[in-house]
């Protein structure tokens, strides 16, 4: 589905990603684990076209993303939820989720179908659909960002440190939501980054360790406890 090869990214002359490579498969959830500053956020931002890369390649179903501007990549079916949520404060929760529908000029039927799917996967969102994006808590905001990403994620879902800063109860809820999503959306590849792998053991089909801008080890399915939905 998504293949990253020898990705090198420099920020202000500093090599932040030295050699990042991995691939994601449809129906599989991959967890990228690495301490703060390892390069997780940079990897996702580079894939989304928010940062240029110096060398390497990212392909989605054979299409090379390198030459495509950022906004064209979302249209290929990549949903991205950034670590800091980035909701539009003036828009309601539902309007936030619907921004991709607006961008892609979805028909009313298509829009409703997708929105209903998001609400059925993430029922918490239906409850707060009318609240302003600026008025939800950090943890709720992460779910909104996830819902918004799902509107675009026909192929790949990229979630950047969704557990960062969540209270334990909310983190558990988010992990449960993710497990539910993983078992219900079998056609998409999921990548979740995290600084500690604990909460994700139950859904990880594969785990990547990133250290100082390099993927250190590739744990194959089975190495990591848990998974096994099917």
């Amino acid at each position: 589905m998504l293949t990253v090869r020898n990705l090198k990214v420099e920020i202000a002359g500093v090599e932040v990603l030295r050699d990042v490579g991995f691939s994601l498969a449809a129906g599989k959830a991959t967890v990228m684990v690495g301490r703060n500053g390892a390069g997780k956020t940079t990897t996702l931002r580079a894939i989304m076209g928010l940062l240029p890369w110096k060398a390497g390649s990212v392909r989605i179903d054979g299409t090379e993303l390198g030459p495509l501007p950022g906004h064209a990549r979302a249209g290929l079916g990549i949903g991205y939820a950034p670590e800091d949520r980035r909701l539009i404060a003036d828009f309601t929760v539902e309007e936030n989720i619907l921004v991709p529908a607006l961008v892609r000029r979805m028909s009313a039927a298509e829009r409703t179908r997708r929105l209903d799917e998001v609400y059925s996967l993430l029922p918490q969102l239906a409850v707060m659909r009318a609240r302003p994006g600026g008025g939800v808590s950090g943890g709720q905001g992460k779910i909104v960002a996830l819902g918004r990403a799902l509107m675009l994620a026909d192929k790949v879902l990229l979630l950047d440190e969704p557990f960062q800063g969540l209270a334990p109860a909310l983190a558990l809820e988010y992990a449960r939501t993710l497990a539910h999503l993983h078992s219900n959306k079998r056609d998409i590849a999921i990548l979740v980054t995290e600084s500690s792998p604990k909460l994700l053991n139950s859904i990880a089909d594969a785990t990547l360790h990133i250290e100082r801008g390099e993927i250190e080890s590739l744990a194959s399915p089975g190495d990591v406890g848990g998974l096994q939905h099917a």
Binding site: M48, H71, A72, P82, F91, L102, L152
Partner: protein
């Protein structure tokens, strides 16, 4: 006193309406592109020159004089279509992400170029074409006579404000513009072509400035130096309202109009500086302007 203060205020308000169009464009470009375009006022004078030229041509060619009304709008659209995409795609684009100093220098350079260009094309004599004012005539309300054209200017400013709210709140393009204003990066990640949105917003900003200028010609005419004068006033209005705040600019335009009337009554010598005195006082009390907020970005 009522007999003189009301017509004075209407006159000041009609002028403020014209400046509001310029401040509106300035603030729109600022909120979407995050640049302060020093050359913005030049599009007011270019709009004025173009509309005066077209108006004079319509009259001299013996065409229906009512055509001078659509000509005002067409002039502004022409100026925007000619300069908007061209300037944004070339000069302005180079300044993105390069800091305020580069933006100010670059747009100041643009201002100088545009001033010379206007002298080259339109010469140094002033243009005046008042067919629209003559056609609309005047109206007497409560013993006071008003120019209908001035009332129209005030109404148009209100219409522009409402139209922008409807555009931002209820159209696809307007909603996407609001997303870009709030967060460029997530816009791009959600599939919005932000560069295209910059071009559109910049062109719309120029259209508003040129429209102000086009609407000004029938009452005030146009002469060299108008662009610079307008820029300074429009900046004062935008700053009083809070940069990026359209409603703020509208309120600021009304306050400036009131301040000028007050000045004419109490200290006639201060008429011209009244807007800047208001700006000084407002910015001392509220450094981000009446409606401005330091962090939250909205349109």
């Amino acid at each position: 006193m009522f007999q003189t203060i009301v017509p004075l205020f209407v006159d000041a308000l009609a002028n403020a309406a014209l400046i509001f169009f310029v401040a509106f464009g300035l603030t729109l470009v600022f909120s979407v592109l995050r640049i302060l375009n020093v050359a913005h006022g030049s599009f007011y004078s270019i709009g004025a020159y173009v509309s005066a030229s077209i108006g004079l041509w319509i009259v001299s060619a013996g065409l229906n004089p009512w055509l001078t009304f659509p000509a005002l709008l067409v002039s502004a659209a022409l100026v925007a279509a000619l300069f908007g995409p061209l300037i944004e795609r070339t000069l302005v684009q180079w300044t993105y992400g390069r800091g305020e100093a580069v933006q100010i220098l670059m747009t100041f350079g643009l201002f100088l170029i545009l001033e010379d260009l206007q002298r080259l094309v339109f010469g140094v004599s002033s243009y005046y074409e008042d067919t629209p004012v003559a056609l609309l005539g005047s109206i007497e309300i409560g013993g006071i006579i008003y120019l209908n054209y001035q009332l129209l200017l005030i109404a148009l400013a209100v219409v522009a404000l409402v139209a922008m709210r409807v555009f931002i709140g209820h159209t696809r393009m307007g909603r996407l513009l609001a997303v870009v204003v709030a967060d460029r990066e997530i816009s791009e990640a959600l599939g919005i072509d932000t560069r295209r949105m910059f071009t559109i917003a910049f062109t719309l900003g120029i259209f508003l400035a040129a429209l102000g200028g086009a609407l000004a010609t029938p009452t005030a005419g146009v002469a060299p130096g108008l662009g610079a004068d307008t820029m300074v006033l429009a900046f004062a209005v935008a700053a009083i309202g809070g940069l990026g705040q359209v409603e703020g600019a509208a309120l600021a335009a009304v306050i400036v109009a009131a301040a000028r009337v007050l000045a004419i009554y109490l200290f006639p010598a201060l008429d011209a500086v009244a807007p800047y005195l208001v700006m000084l006082i407002v910015l001392l009390v509220r450094p981000y302007g009446l409606f401005g907020k330091p962090a939250i970005r909205r349109i």
